[in-house]
Symmetry: C3
Subunit: 413 residues, 3 copies
């Protein structure tokens, strides 16, 4: 039995570590796990709230260690107010550096984190959350973005990629999203395909695929996703949002947008795109006008949502508003946010304005009238209204109602 | 014999109607045809000009009824100054709602309505005429647009699509076009293919194909056209102008432009395009710059004419002129008109200016010199002039002569 | 023997001529060669420097005539200060009009004209030199353009195409380039493929392919080039720069850029492009914005350099500087020059500015640090730096050092 356990150890002298510590760290925890040959489990805890939570921390730690059959180890926990799913993620990440196992320690899934989202859900805003920073995750949903992105890619330093996966997995299960779409940005290439194993079985709504350059980049991700859904006996829809971030991606936008019927939106990432082009990003955006036009056209041609790049100056709300208006005028349906305070400005400026609502109401009423009369076609004056225009009008009405710009009972008044 | 006639009736109780009536209606007629079991033909006519034309109306009506072998019917005709081909179209449309027949009542073809047009004819302006409004048709040609479009699509309400076909067919045969190219805009899809049966046998010069999204949309129309020409033993050229009105169409411009050698021009329709993109049309046109650029480039690459969208504010001639200059600067060869007063402004601003004429003359003279010397190549100074540049210069000279900006004998002076 | 020689003559009555003469001609020579039946070689020389160089001219002329086995001829040489390789080229061109031979009279190759250039060499500037004007060639290199283009295409009149080939061939071997990349612009089509026989065996670094419209236009040139390299037992790299000069070329930019791994750059030629589009070139460039965007994107997507059109107003340096800044902002890596005085302005404005250098230094240092630590990935803060961004930073550093904007030892300070 002793020998048997020993075989599981990767390295008896190694210490597994995970999490963050330091003066600026909150809602997180630093964990060190050192397997030893004998002496049982020795846990030492450092926490400002030790008096209050020390016992709870110890009990969860013991449960996790027991789960992974670790019988002799020195464990050091420096807590900065981590909630259970964070502590569990850190312990698992630390343990898996020193123990080889396929088991996963999962807390009970929040029932509300199983909700599905429809393909054409509103995606005005999506807030990027670094995948290894619990502090930013905890209350992100209260700012009411349409989507919350747990980011495993650029916002996670290479050395932290491993532990971030456990945190993101646990967040998908146990973080409160307040109705926001549960999104994950995976890494590029092979690492991204591995990332999927940590997110697909846990009801992620949408996967952002970074630096897409051709349809195959999407297909590798959608195929792996389908496999994982089947293996886990799940049938919830998972949507995909490829991000175009290079000249090559721009040349292949249409093929990428059409790659799989589960692609729901296509975004552009201008920081990397302009680097690839050898240009610099400006507020006027002349250098990316062609690329953004390609993304909007290709997305619309494929019947999916075109989504604009983030705006990096988080302190200038006037410039942001101007940028959103320009995005909307070009045809974008939404954009990324890197700070919660951007969300409100993004929503206000993407929302339909009075003229748009008025026009949509006229088309919607004509549509309802045609429906009532049993007519196959909708017309406004002498002009036939095509189905996509009707669909867009319905979307506008819904947006207007959702953003409080139109009373839900407007037809009755 | 009686029974035999009866079998042709779709519905003995039904009344066939066609045409328009009301205070604003001119040059049109309202017709009601109700088959009855016996009693012969009863025609009642209401017309301000009944004293003058009553007999002529009655004679034509009787001829049409006889032609369709309708022996017992009540017929009501409310005339507002319709010419013969309009009255005949209305009667035929009404009759064919109650009588099943493959026969067509055709007045003798105007000899001048058999003229053909060359593929690269000037197409600065084309005036849209609602396909069911005789009032707008009658004198449209005197405004001298390069083309007159009998529109069966958006300008005809769904309920009027059926009768419009007869009016458009008769107009192709008997309306005076004053030298304008005889164009027809058919409907989308299967209805558009049926429309062709009413226009191809009657010497239409050019067919506008709305909402083209891929090469196949063109090919279905060109194939059907070829069949109809063969069936009718005709060999006059029929040209096609696909209209790009969606994001998908924009992505496929080049394939659409190259779909068939009889595609002579490609137009863009910005009202529908911006609706499909989820944007609004502005005078600056930033939202459609990419799409218009695609259309111009694809058309030029395929060696056909790029044609711009209509300008919808029919009262602002200054804005129209500015818009035409912008179109021309981007490379467009013409645009649509929705009011006769737009034609002159469109012609004046698309016509070559003094500098363009001067340059074209230099190239043309170099070409003539090379031709005289038997040289295979044309050069201006040390620069070889490529054949497309020579061709363009010749076009410019022709345009300048045609628009009165250059004397036809300029080479002699 | 007599008969044998006679058979080689194309025409005993013909006089072969080559070169230029007249008041404005310098560094060139006019040559007339008339074969006769007997009487040996009669050379008459007209030169302002006859006293000084008359004997040298005569000796070279005799050597050339002897080489081509021309035993009886009247030769007239009107010299305006031609260097040896020019005189030899003119004599050979004149002789080959009257003698059929496959031999080539080659002066010893300058050793420095065998240097090779790497695919991604800096190509800020390339100076066009008319392929039949020795005067402009002789000191062109002292202006230090990145490349010198010996132009066989538009800058050579049709009647001079034949003799220009010999001059360009000899210039490749014997002109001093002062370190500039040795480029040749060949003609279009079949003539261009023949041009290659005069340049590929003589260590041309890069071939400009004019008016490319599809990948095949490139492949015909690269295939012929490979054949010629093999035939001549050469293995020096030859790069290609297709020039996009038509709407069709614009539609096929990406395929053209990817046609062959030896395509190192892609240029746009706006004079011909705007002619093909039926537009006029403006300083703002709205009419070519789409085309230039396509070229930059396609080139970057293929990993090659995008190169802008020449700027034709050689007297306006302020407008040129503005034009270069606009080019660079769009992502171009360089542009053509048609006057030596443009080179300095082009270099100064394409060179990286202080902010770009600062950013590149940060990325470069992060890259060096990652390399030193043996890390597989480079990161700056939490952001992973992709290999293309690192590569671009290295390029920027090199450019900064090369243009004197950064000390070569900057890392040590």
């Amino acid at each position: 039995m002793y020998l048997c356990v020993l075989e599981n150890y990767n390295d008896m002298d190694k210490t597994g570590t995970a999490g963050n510590r330091g003066p600026d760290i909150r809602s997180d925890v630093w964990v060190e796990v050192s397997p030893v040959l004998s002496g049982g489990i020795q846990i030492s805890i450092k926490s400002k709230v030790k008096a209050l939570y020390g016992r709870q921390i110890r009990e969860l730690a013991e449960a996790v260690l027991r789960f992974f059959e670790l019988e002799n180890a020195h464990v050091f926990i420096e807590d900065a107010g981590a909630v259970d799913f964070v502590l569990a993620a850190r312990l698992e990440a630390a343990i898996k550096q020193v123990v080889q196992t396929d088991k996963e320690f999962l807390l009970p899934l929040l029932e509300e984190n199983k909700t599905t989202i429809r393909k054409d859900a509103f995606r005005f805003s999506r807030l990027y959350l670094p995948g290894n920073s619990p502090k930013l995750m905890i209350n992100a949903g209260v700012h009411k973005p349409n989507g919350l992105i747990l980011d495993l890619e650029d916002a996670v330093a290479p050395a932290k990629k491993f532990e971030a996966r456990f945190l993101v997995r646990n967040a998908l299960r146990n973080l409160r999203f307040y109705g926001a779409e549960r999104m994950v940005r995976i890494n590029q290439g092979a690492r991204g395909l591995e990332d999927l194993e940590f997110v697909i079985p846990h009801f992620a709504n949408l996967i952002l695929i970074p630096k897409c350059e051709e349809a195959e980049d999407v297909l590798r991700v959608t195929e792996k996703t389908k496999q994982l859904l089947t293996q886990n006996k799940l049938d919830n829809p998972v949507w995909f949002m490829p991000i175009i971030e290079s000249a090559k991606g721009v040349m292949n936008t249409y093929q990428i947008a059409c790659a799989d019927p589960h692609v729901a939106a296509m975004a552009i990432g201008l920081e990397d795109y302009t680097a690839d082009m050898g240009t610099s990003r400006t507020n006027e955006g002349t250098e990316s006008f062609f690329a953004r036009s390609m993304v909007v056209n290709a997305a619309r041609a494929a019947g999916i949502q075109p989504i604009d790049s983030v705006f990096s100056d988080v302190s200038d709300m006037v410039a942001l508003a101007k940028n959103v208006k320009r995005s909307k005028a070009l045809g974008f349906d939404g954009m990324g946010c890197i700070h919660p305070r951007q969300i409100k400005v993004v929503h206000e400026n993407f929302a339909p304005d009075a003229a748009e609502i008025e026009k949509a109401k006229r088309i919607f009423l004509a549509f309802k009238e045609a429906e009532a009369k049993g007519l196959g076609v909708v017309s406004l004056g002498s002009k036939m209204i095509d189905p996509p225009v009707v669909k867009r009008a319905i979307t506008t009405i819904e947006l207007a109602v959702n953003t409080g710009k139109l009373n839900v009972n407007w037809m009755e008044s």
